[in-house]
Subunit: 484 residues, 2 copies
């Protein structure tokens, strides 16, 4: 067992993760004959769809409009913003041929869409009256990763990239938008029970082309930090090179101000990693493809057996008509025990065991996936109680995950102690910082960990502490972790 | 005015189509700096989403499972089925470089997914017990079109390709699946009021790698035939080269049998083209992004004006809570007349004009986009009546479109008459056929038109007629049209 795994998964995290992704039939990875690309299987696709719908609702209700941009970005467009291309050029896939011809201008598979969208915004946006403008899209992006790839965590085709792009009249409104984006992402992660810490990334780790980057990091069960969302204030960096000009209220002409923010299928990896246990997935009720699985347990006479099967179907249909995602497993060549195993592995939040005894009594046994708790429920009260139990499951998952997460964030003043924590238990270490890049880079080297960045809020009493590198008074803390 | 346009669009069809796509803000085309690729704008994106949801429902309810395959297909996989690659190789985009490196094996942007999916099915499917298996996906495909491109009609990035792929135990079950697919597509096109004719494509025009292809064609207002859906019986052509082997009921091992069928964003082009008029889009109620637009017509005192505005918002919210997609246009710098123009252009099926008179009387005027008819409705009865009117709109649009379509299908025995029709009015011409390819190809040449194929049902009394090329007794009819 790895020393850092802070939850019992029955096996080392990496092994467990590959096992659960494969056995729960979420995503077929490592067998497709192009590296870093996988297939969303039906069960995984449904989970992905529910997660996407959740973020769509949050974005739609805050005035974001969904669009779809081309996947291919011509060379001369993607190279326009110099910082941006410096950050991405090592990762781009290039289309060089169409049919039997070489293309005049090679086309990049988009790694993100700041450049192609800014090109169009120069045509669309003319006046402050159209602002703020908030676009988003959900689609595939490509990054030619040279590091070892992992399903959902580090892939070459990110099939679920939700990128938002906004346009504003001034810097102040960009700042407001950054806050709105952070609020939306916080609500999104909270709904999924995925804990996070929000940091302002250090200068050397911001998005290529941004003024600054805010990032959400969670922790994997092996104590490594995983970036699950970023928000960038782009200032006028892109609008200037793409000439996105607006007339302001005072009739002056200025370049527009922009932000962008993104999340990827890493959020699905996080749901898997943060809530799962040694038996497999544990899915939040809110996004589970199947919320309630009904297992018929036939016994007694043939007639009684038949009645159980019929009742299972009827109950499923009743629950579906009451707005629940219910399913029943009627297979006759699989034992109830095997069915328990399979649906636990697939993380279905609630299970109903249905036998002749239950039929006669007019009640059923509901089993919670998260706690194993068994609850006897009157059939007539079932839909309401299942919904209530679903909410309880989600709140319990969230509580559990946050508790474990908070324990892995440690504030220390001493580098040796920090190094000890990071090597033995990992997690996130917060160390007083003087604000100078060279000190954070030095500490990062000593700790053999990445600097995640600084908190956005003021840190109480940090002025009494000292940077362990240079000894100067601290102005904030810097967070360090082994980054995935 | 073009002679062939069979509906008054106010301008030639090509010009009208580009105008309406652009002005109704569906899809930004021709300005993105890579040829054949456009941007789905917010309004168009919503229409597209509603159309996709409609086909999803039909597929989900018939046991199809949605998946997502990689966009990139390695060279050695896509070339495996020889007929298939012969059909597609002139149209493939190739990714040859990743980062600073040349790839060992070049990757094709998928033109369709028979090859990549069959590769995976060889790993997934082992036994007849798993069959029939029905997969589908919705995503972008790429075709390096060398013909002139047109928005939604002929593009290089088809962003809305719904492809279904099924696996079966034997040929007979493939045949059953072909019928199911035809039934699903018929229902889909019927729901959208898009008329079609179903033909078995001639040998020389079937899908590359199929045993045979069934196609759905509609007619554009300029009388050209537009292929909007295809269904392919693939037999064992792909399963053999990808070694998708199954154990049959009798325990023998056989290659699996497959079908595939697809529709694209051409269905959205068809909705636009088939229902639109000189004022712009006319959208079916079922898929319209906005079903009901409320136009406040403020008049009288400031207080009365304010009351109208407030009432418009209240009414919008009421209608939304009753499950209608309602919107109101509160802009103060745009006159009601201008608003009528804009929302007619955008094809909103129902409009509510709301002034002080309406407020006082407790009733409103509902205007139908399809007919211009005005209906006075009591506010209390509004939600129910709007839904009923919506259904009436859809059934009227369908009726109108089918009537016009049927008039453009002509059965003739004489080639000169056929040629005359095709050059003057276009449409679809049905001619008795002996069944020999050379006669159809000859007729096609003479008519300067494409052979669409033969009807699937027997043609009554065709045995008394003769092939106008060879003079032999006819066995069926062949359909010809100028194909888009």
């Amino acid at each position: 067992m790895e020393v850092y795994v802070y939850r019992d998964l029955g096996k080392p995290f990496n092994e467990w993760f590959d096992w659960v992704i494969r056995e729960a039939e979420l995503y077929d990875y490592g067998r497709y004959p192009a590296k870093g690309m996988g297939i969303w299987l039906p069960y995984g696709f449904k989970l992905r769809k529910n997660v996407i719908e959740l973020i769509r609702k949050l974005l739609d209700s805050t005035g974001h409009e969904e669009i779809l941009l081309p996947l291919l970005i011509p060379y001369n467009i993607i190279i326009k913003e110099s910082e941006h291309i410096r950050g991405f050029e090592g990762q781009l896939y290039w289309v060089t041929h169409g049919g039997y011809e070489q293309l005049d201008i090679k086309l990049a598979l988009r790694p993100t869409s700041e450049t192609s969208l800014s090109y169009m915004e120069a045509l669309w946006i003319k006046s402050y009256k159209q602002l703020p403008k908030k676009f988003y899209q959900v689609g595939s992006i490509f990054r030619y990763e040279t590091k070892a790839t992992r399903p959902l965590l580090r892939v070459r085709e990110v099939t679920t990239f939700k990128e938002a792009h906004t346009v504003h009249e001034d810097f102040k409104d960009c700042e407001r938008q950054v806050k709105e984006a952070m609020d939306i992402y916080s609500r999104f992660f909270n709904e999924l029970g995925v804990p996070y810490v929000v940091s302002k990334r250090p200068e050397w780790d911001k998005f290529a082309g941004a003024i600054y980057t805010i990032a959400f990091d969670t922790l994997l069960p092996d104590g490594k930090a995983l970036q699950i969302g970023t928000v960038h204030n782009l200032g006028q960096n892109f609008s200037r090179v793409f000439e996105v000009r607006i007339q302001r209220k005072d009739e002056s002409i200025d370049y527009a101000w922009q932000t962008s923010y993104g999340i990827s299928e890493r959020i699905i990896a996080s749901i898997v990693a943060v809530h799962g246990d040694s038996k497999g997935l544990v899915l939040p009720f809110k996004v589970a493809p199947i919320q309630v699985i009904i297992i018929p347990i036939p016994a007694g006479s043939d007639e009684e057996k038949k009645a159980v099967m019929e009742h299972a179907i009827k109950l499923k249909n009743d629950l579906i008509s009451r707005g629940l995602r219910a399913e029943t497993d009627l297979r006759e060549d699989v034992t109830p025990g095997e069915k328990f195993y399979i649906w636990e592995l697939k993380g279905v939040p609630l299970r109903i065991d249905l036998g002749p005894r239950e039929l006669r009594g007019g009640y059923v046994t509901v089993v919670r996936r998260d706690s194993g708790e068994k609850i006897e429920v009157k059939v007539s009260e079932l839909p309401e109680i299942l919904k209530k139990l679903g909410e309880e499951v989600d709140s319990e998952l969230s509580k559990r995950a946050w508790e474990a997460f908070r324990k892995k964030i440690r504030r220390v003043n001493d580098l040796n102690q920090a190094k000890d924590y990071l090597s033995k238990e990992r997690g996130i270490i917060e160390i007083p910082w003087c604000g100078r890049s060279e000190c954070a880079l030095k500490a990062s080297e000593i700790l053999e960990a990445d600097a995640l960045g600084t908190p956005l809020d003021e840190v109480p009493n940090v002025g009494n502490e000292h940077c362990p590198i240079c000894g100067e008074r601290a102005v904030t803390i810097m967070r360090y972790a082994k980054k995935y």
